[in-house]
């Protein structure tokens, strides 16, 4: 299964951008998600929901995309993927620092995806809501 993505603007206040991930987020698809979030930020998005209700799988490379989205939405540069998967080191620093996110929220992630987020320590840093409507309303 590949990954299908959609980007949707929801009028505010505050305006919220919803990126829906449908399929599997792995080593072949994660860079596309980073590009989508970067483009949304550059287009003015400041509140972002990752709708994970249709996300069936996430690998450690997928977590690099989630972490990059965290950084981009804070106005920071995403980790340089050209440095190889050293980007994973940056996730460690994020977990150590306890950087809970304010501008990026997750919606509807399934048990398997939740398990991976929690096993790596990223889960507690990302506010999560049962569905996209409650995630949008939380801003």
């Amino acid at each position: 299964m590949a990954l299908a993505t959609t980007v949707e603007q929801v009028d505010g206040p505050p305006p919220v951008t919803v990126v829906t991930l449908d399929g599997e987020l792995d080593g072949a698809t994660y860079e596309r998600v980073i590009d989508i979030v970067r483009q949304a930020y550059e287009a003015g998005a400041r509140k972002l929901v990752l709708d994970c209700s249709k996300l069936e799988f996430v690998s450690s490379s997928g977590l690099v995309a989630v972490h990059s989205a965290m950084r981009i939405m804070r106005g920071e540069a995403a980790p340089d993927l050209e440095q190889g998967w050293e980007a994973l080191r940056a996730i460690r620093d994020e977990v150590d620092a306890g950087n809970v996110q304010s501008n990026l929220r997750l919606a509807g992630e399934q048990d398997g995806v939740r398990k991976v987020l929690d096993r790596t320590g990223l889960g507690p840093l990302l506010p999560s809501y049962p569905d996209r409507a409650s995630a949008i309303a939380s801003f």
Partner: protein, 145 residues
Amino acid sequence: MTPTEARLRIPAELDRLADVRRMVRETTRAAGASQDCVDDICQAVDEAATNTIVHGYRGGPGWVEVAVAVDGPDVVVTIEDAAPTFDPRTHAEPDMAVSALVRGPHGMGVHLMRLATDRLGWRPRDGGGNILTLVRTLAQRPQED
């Protein structure tokens, strides 16, 4: 010998990982694995194959062969490649904090591989390469802390 339920060899390309996960998912489901097990073994196999493609072959040509077998209460997955030898057991400490585990490029993947399996075996392959064995109970595990 444990009968092999399914086997798949892919070229060392990231966009073939989905084929491997599909094979592992379908085979373990057919064997009556819990969803918990299906999720975990797909995770572990993906992380192992990704590491082989990215760090073993370094994006160059190669192959990865994945075989799934069911042995009593367990699913046993064997992952074979011809990449430079890498023993993930030397990179995985079960009781270390996450922050300490995410060391170096293999860190996160090996960490997830370890947590998703009950046993991790490794031996060098004759003629060069690696044979990695992942074992996971088919049943649902008790809730993690």
